[in-house]
């Protein structure tokens, strides 16, 4: 599903040049659950952003679903992202002015799905997340765990093949964190590929494979399950 070759990312300000990713090579197959770990500032989030087509690499190749995407324009990246990739963030990133239903509905609006169909899809996913009773509530009326469940609902509502999670349990207590991880595992079991950035060894334990980054480079890869799973 994802194949990265010799990928680098450089950030430039007036005086300083920072090499965030340095010659990264990576392959991720469909249906995998991959955790990316490493200390702060090692390039985890940068890698995730590039994988999620939010940003372009400075150098190297990125093949996503058999398409070369390393040099796509913003509009093309957006088109490719729609319906294919869902995002879950540490700080949930829900829109305060929209209620739960409207937050979850948003990706469908931008995919030009009819309102009737949208209603159906959102209800289904909220049901699944046990959030139907909260559909009319606003984010600030929910607990952190509930907010993250809404964020996950938004990420999966259009049935994307890939979910990118950036420290999804970072702002949650352990109970809520565990719930979220179980939800992600369940989604993965149903066939969704998941790439997750995390600091927590416990969370990483839910993954099939752990990729360790240090100073922009992949230092180790460890497999947690037998090959035959795939």
């Amino acid at each position: 599903m994802i194949s990265i070759k010799n990928l680098s990312k450089v950030f430039r300000t007036d005086e300083i040049e920072t090499l965030a990713l340095n010659d990264v090579n990576l392959n991720i197959k469909e249906g995998e659950f991959v955790a990316i770990m490493g200390p702060s500032g090692c390039g985890k989030s940068t890698l995730l952003n590039i994988l999620g087509l939010l940003d372009n690499p400075s150098e190297g190749e990125y093949n996503f679903n058999q398409t070369e995407v390393a040099n796509l324009k913003e509009g093309q990246r957006t088109d490719l992202r729609k319906g294919n990739i869902g995002f879950v963030f540490q700080s949930f990133n829900l829109i305060d002015e929209l209620n739960v239903f409207e937050n979850v509905e948003m990706p469908l609006v931008y995919q030009r799905i009819s309102s009737k169909k949208r209603k159906e899809m959102v209800s289904q996913v909220l049901d699944r997340m046990n959030m139907s009773h909260r559909a009319k509530h606003y984010p600030q009326q929910l607990s952190g765990g509930q907010q993250q469940r809404v964020a996950i609902a938004r990420a999966v509502v259009s049935n994307p093949g890939l979910i990118l999670a950036d420290e999804p349990t970072g702002n949650l207590d352990s109970k809520n964190g565990q719930e979220v991880m179980e939800l992600l595992t369940e989604l993965n079991r149903e066939g969704t590929t998941i790439i997750m950035v995390t600091h927590s060894m416990k969370d990483a334990g839910y993954a099939h494979r752990i990729i360790n980054l240090f100073d922009g480079k992949v230092v180790t890869e460890e497999s947690l399950v037998a090959e035959q799973v795939f």
């Binding site: 952003n49 999620g52 939010l54 940003d55 913003e74 509009g75 957006t78 992202r81 729609k82 319906g83 995002f87 963030f89 990133n93 829900l94 829109i95 002015e97 948003m106 990706p107 931008y110 995919q111 938004r154």
Partner: protein
């Protein structure tokens, strides 16, 4: 206030260069424009206050008409002994006036003629001589200082003699009786010199005219002692004895006096005075207020909102030990610094715009005048008020806040949206009303210049004649007709478009006597052919018409006076019955402000104005033609230079007031749009600031750039639309009122309102979209990191 605070404030100002400069320039433009507007309004409302003893000076009115005859003045003097002094004054009868000293000729543009009391009623300050005694006898003149300087240099000219030449009087030696200070622009009087009334006795018809009760050719002004009750005096004037008043005038004799200071804005019928336009003034004043309001609210809004952005800084200040007082001190210093810069820029910009203001309003404002009196109070309190709202109050509220909440930046920035939206609607309502105003005024002016006045005015030149031309008119005509570029010439007693004189006579129609009033115009017999005006019935003037005192009336006169057949009616003139020989088609003999009135034409060989019809339209050939005319002119009338004008240009000039209003409104609209746009920029700035993260989230979830722009602009479109709905009825009502002052008016079409709305919407979208676009283009990775 210490140096450290000033340094911090200065750095903070530089850090937000764009926002700070938009912010300050909005406020500077707003305050400056409104101060200039208020200075002008103040001037217009307080005209003539500088004239000594003006509180005891009044205008004499008869039957609501400020035109008074000398007989009426004598009547009032005789019956009302309480009056301290009374004067009557008018422009001299001549169209061209010159003073000659040695061999130098000086043209006087504005020469008044008055009885001896003028300077007893209006005590203008003297430079030389005693003005109060200066007009006591014939052949005396009082000059203004600048005219005296032009003629005599810096010498005291009292007792000096000058040769006065005019179209009515030639080679009269006049003596300079006094020199007064130049009239200030706060004075509604406007003249170069005043000549004594007695001088006119040399004109053959003068004394006969003066003896007519109805020769209401003067403006009359009275001075009363301060201890007299004006109401009682008015009562007495209104019920004055009419024993010696001629029978026809008895009923209309009701005198009244009105404060002279009201003449400028209210008695616009007095043609010797300058006048204001109170309705326009009110509009201008309201616009000035709005501009000030918009600019201040914009500024305060933006500054207060910006403070919210700096909560963290203030939190840090408190962490390192700054107490409440320190916070107030810092914010007050910041505010004071900005307002100090603003004040300096206001003065600089005012100085820069002063020339323009003086040009548009025909005034002589100085910078000191703009910043004195009530304007200074307005300016100072504005600055103080703004300082309070942007320095002290934020300092107090932020100083009281908990340090932890300041550091977390947890102020809810959504709560103030209502105020900002209301401001936006308010701004755009004003802008749309002003836009409607401009569109309609342009439409009306176009309509008037395209409207056919019913006579030809293209390729026609005209000039005022003089006794020399009139005396030799046969020879002059013959010479002129030899110029190849000239097709025809004609004489008339006044300029087409301006009313010459009004007559009232007795008509006998089907045996019944009837008093009729009409405009009167003397014309040479070819007048109607010359201007392409058709006869409805009857014949044009012939060579006997002048001797027979024949009349031609327009169709309106026929209708209004119920004349069915030409033979039915005669006009009594000097005891004889004179005939009406024809009816001409109506044409606009006055400006399009008034509907066509009855007008009578009489035949003459020569008169005050001569019109030349040229067969050439190019500038060069017209210049050649004028050159040929002036050569002939100089030969026949060496004393009076030819002053030639274009009839079409003079016709256009009748709409000067509308054009001035149009210009003022244009500027006001541009400024109001500018300030509204500045407001919008700041509004969008905050919409974008508060939505940065949302934009990132939406983009991550598949929104494209244009979808984000659409989202950010939707609200704006909604507010501008509401502004349209509010503005339209207001605009309709005010424009409808404005239009009603015209006899010939264009339609108040629906598209004016639609177009104004579209323009406002377009401007708003353009202003906002570049910011929305920039925000929408930001990489979502960046926006999501934004807290």
């Amino acid at each position: 206030m210490n140096f450290y605070n000033i340094k911090i404030s200065y750095k903070n100002l530089l850090k937000n260069k764009l926002v700070s400069s938009i912010n300050i320039s909005g406020l500077v433009i707003g305050i400056t424009i409104s101060l200039l507007v208020f200075a002008y309004v103040n001037k217009e409302k307080n005209m003539d206050q500088e004239i000594p003893e003006i509180e005891n000076t009044y205008t004499l009115i008869n039957n609501q008409d400020p035109d008074i005859s000398s007989e009426m003045v004598r009547h009032v003097i005789k019956e009302i002994p309480e009056i301290e002094a009374i004067t009557y004054v008018r422009h001299v009868w001549s169209t061209q006036n010159m003073l000659k000293r040695n061999n130098d000729n000086f043209t006087l543009d504005n020469l008044l003629i008055s009885d001896s009391s003028f300077f007893r009623v209006f005590k203008f300050e003297a430079v030389y001589g005693n003005p109060e005694a200066a007009l006591n006898s014939a052949d005396k003149i009082v000059l203004t200082h600048s005219v005296a300087k032009k003629i005599f240099g810096n010498k005291n000219p009292i007792g000096e003699e000058l040769l006065y030449n005019s179209t009515q009087l030639q080679n009269v030696i006049v003596e300079v009786g006094a020199v007064i200070k130049d009239l200030s622009h706060y004075c509604s009087w406007e003249f170069d010199a005043i000549i004594s009334l007695e001088t006119n006795k040399r004109i053959s018809w003068f004394e006969e005219l003066e003896s007519l009760w109805g020769a209401q050719n003067y403006g009359a002004f009275v001075k009363i002692p301060s201890n007299i009750n004006v109401d009682a005096l008015n009562e007495k004037l209104s019920n004055i004895s009419t024993q010696n008043v001629p029978e026809d005038y008895k009923e209309e004799t009701h005198y009244e006096i009105q404060k002279f200071t009201r003449a400028y804005n209210e008695l616009t019928g007095i043609s010797i005075l300058k006048h204001g336009n109170p309705r326009t003034l009110r509009v201008i004043q309201i616009i000035g207020l709005f501009i000030l309001l918009l600019a201040c609210i914009n500024y305060i809004n933006l500054v207060v909102a910006q403070k919210i952005k700096r909560l963290k800084n203030i939190g840090i200040l408190k962490v390192v030990g700054g107490k409440k007082g320190k916070v107030i001190e810092l914010l007050a210093t910041e505010s004071a610094l900005v307002l100090f810069i603003t004040s300096i820029l206001v003065i600089v910009l005012s100085n820069f715009l002063l020339v323009g203001l003086n040009q548009i309003t025909n005034s002589e404002f100085t910078l000191l005048e703009i910043f004195s009196g009530s304007n200074l109070i307005i300016f100072a309190s504005l600055i103080a008020f703004t300082f309070l709202l942007t320095g002290i109050i934020p300092g107090l509220t932020l100083g009281r806040k908990k340090t932890t909440s300041l550091l977390k930046n947890t102020t809810n920035s959504h709560s103030k949206n209502h105020l900002r939206n209301a401001l936006l609607i308010f701004q755009f309502s004003i802008t749309i009303v002003l836009l409607c105003g401009i569109l309609l005024i342009n439409k009306q002016i176009d309509y008037m210049s395209e409207l056919d006045p019913g006579f030809e005015k293209e390729q026609i030149l005209y000039a005022t004649t003089n006794p020399q031309i009139q005396k030799s008119c046969k020879a002059f005509n013959a010479e002129i007709k030899r110029i190849p570029e000239i097709n025809d010439i004609v004489y008339a007693s006044s300029q087409l478009g301006e009313n010459g004189s009004n007559w009232g006579l007795t008509m006998i129609n089907k045996g019944e006597e009837q008093e009729i009033g009409f405009a009167n115009l003397y014309v040479s017999p070819n007048f109607f052919d010359f201007f392409g005006i058709d006869m409805v019935r009857g014949e044009q003037f012939d060579q006997f018409s002048e001797a027979n005192s024949d009349w031609i009336f327009n169709s309106t006169a026929f209708k209004q006076f119920n004349i069915d057949k030409l033979e039915d009616a005669t006009i009594r003139r000097n005891g004889k019955a004179t005939k009406i020989i024809a009816e001409v088609e109506d044409f606009n003999h006055e400006s399009l402000h008034s509907a066509i009135r009855p007008i009578a034409f009489r035949s003459c060989e020569t008169s005050n104005f001569i019109y030349f019809k040229t067969n050439q339209s190019s500038v060069a050939s017209t210049q050649r033609c004028i050159h040929s005319i002036s050569k002939i002119w100089e030969n026949i009338s060496p004393n009076f230079p030819l002053e030639i004008k274009y009839l079409d240009a003079s016709w256009e000039a009748l709409y000067k007031k509308e054009k001035q209003f149009q210009r003022i409104l244009n500027y006001a609209t541009i400024i109001s749009i500018l300030i509204s746009c500045l407001g919008l920029i700041s509004l969008t700035y905050f919409i974008v600031e508060t939505h940065t993260k949302e934009i990132g989230i939406r983009k991550t979830n598949g929104a494209k750039t244009f979808e984000i722009v659409k989202m950010l602009n939707t609200d704006l479109v909604k507010w501008v639309f509401i502004a349209c709905i509010i503005a339209c009825p207001i605009a309709w009502y005010s424009l409808h009122t404005w239009l009603s002052s015209f006899a010939y008016k264009t339609e108040l079409s629906w598209w004016i309102f639609a177009l104004a709305g579209i323009i406002a919407m377009g401007i708003a979208l353009l202003t906002v979209s570049w910011q929305s676009w920039r925000a929408a283009k930001i990489n979502p990775v960046e926006s999501l990191r934004y807290e």
